[in-house]
Symmetry: C2
Subunit: 237 residues, 2 copies
């Protein structure tokens, strides 16, 4: 243990009315990364309209990690920070090649997975939010979608079929190896899993067919780290 | 040098009427991988209808690499074979993490890049083929497309816009690092570049805007290994 590891780790995590139900896909990436490194952290519940709480740390979005007094914002930056500052713990990337190409997987996860999930579950989110957050969420997300949340939800039975097809690169990979990280999960897995854990926290909508290899992979990740993800409040999926 | 490295390397590569113009995206992945490892190889021109030439090597498709008398088929399998058998040469993956997550990038490259390019350039391919290959190509590809090659080409001015959007994860990555492999190119880059080099060999259709970071990245890879890819016959793109 170096001196640095003795500093406390605190993580600002997105929640709604239930402070024990973090639901940001990006915060879940960080949660899983911290668990992978075997690092305990204190969770600081944070809500959409609490911009003032994290502004002093130089960010408008979560996750924000505090390592002692040092703030680190953005899930990808945090993953790299953990890898660099806790090199004796299990690697998140499996070497420099994995870190470099992880950037593409991070971008694919943002666009194809988080972006693909967004219209499928967005209408289920306001029910988890207090009044101020609910108004903020609806206004900002309807601007992004260009339509009402409910209009996106109305099409989700067909949209989910296109979403499943978008996941084909993941499916092909999981047919030939247990995890994106190979024999064991690593940060590449958490990038993608974060999206599913976001959905699970807020929506009962069925995203994956039971026979999908991605479904089996998600089940394994729900049970990883003593069931960290499964124990977090969510819907059966 | 181990004894193994002294065995000859021969690569079956897809060509058409011009035997010096290899155009398979998968063969180009292997070409670049061999160059990355600093390995010379003899090229064995192979055409679509020459199934009999590679059947004894256990494959119906190219690339097939012969290392001495040992055949290795499939571009991903070949990359892994080169990495394992020439460990003292520059790494294709940058460690085991990069190799594991490379599988997802390989699948994404197959679907989003090669699959996305296919309808844009497919109608330009028959002009490069002799009569028997041309008939085989048209019949098999029109069955895959579910329509005439020319019908796919007729829509390409609009289809290319969707294709460029599909490349967004690549674009985001290249805004923050020079190559998918990080500071230098590695096999992740060749996976994607192989698709562009296929297109360049057969089609003058403009795929990327000049201002696109992917365009600049492709230019650099055209010049890598002494201009290996740029010197190969193709269209200005």
């Amino acid at each position: 243990m170096t001196g640095d590891t003795l500093l406390t780790l605190q993580l600002y995590e997105l929640v709604g009315t239930d402070a024990s139900r973090p639901f940001s896909p990006y915060c879940w990436r960080t949660r899983m990364a911290l668990a992978h490194k075997g690092l305990d952290h204190a969770s600081i519940p944070w809500r959409f309209t609490e911009k003032g709480a994290i502004a002093p740390h130089g960010s408008e979005r979560v996750p924000v990690l505090l390592h002692g007094e040092k703030p680190v914002a953005d899930s990808w930056t945090i993953a790299n920070y953990l890898e660099d500052n806790f090199p004796d713990r299990p690697s998140l990337f499996g070497g420099e090649g994995g870190r470099a190409t992880g950037k593409l997987i991070n971008a694919w996860g943002d666009i194809a997975v988080v972006g693909g999930l967004f219209p499928l579950i967005v209408a289920d989110i306001p029910a988890h939010l207090g009044p101020a957050d609910r108004d903020y969420f609806r206004a900002s997300r309807e601007a992004r979608l260009g339509r009402k949340l409910e209009d996106a939800a109305a099409e989700r039975d067909t949209a989910v079929i296109a979403f499943r097809r978008t996941l084909e690169p993941l499916r092909i990979t999981l047919r030939s190896q247990p995890y994106l990280g190979g024999a064991a999960a690593n940060y590449a897995d958490y990038i993608v899993f974060g999206g599913f854990q976001w959905a699970r926290a807020v929506s009962a909508f069925k995203l994956l067919e039971d026979s999908d290899p991605i479904h089996a992979w998600r089940e394994k990740l729900l049970d990883t780290f003593g069931g960290l993800a499964r124990k977090s409040p969510g819907f059966a999926v």
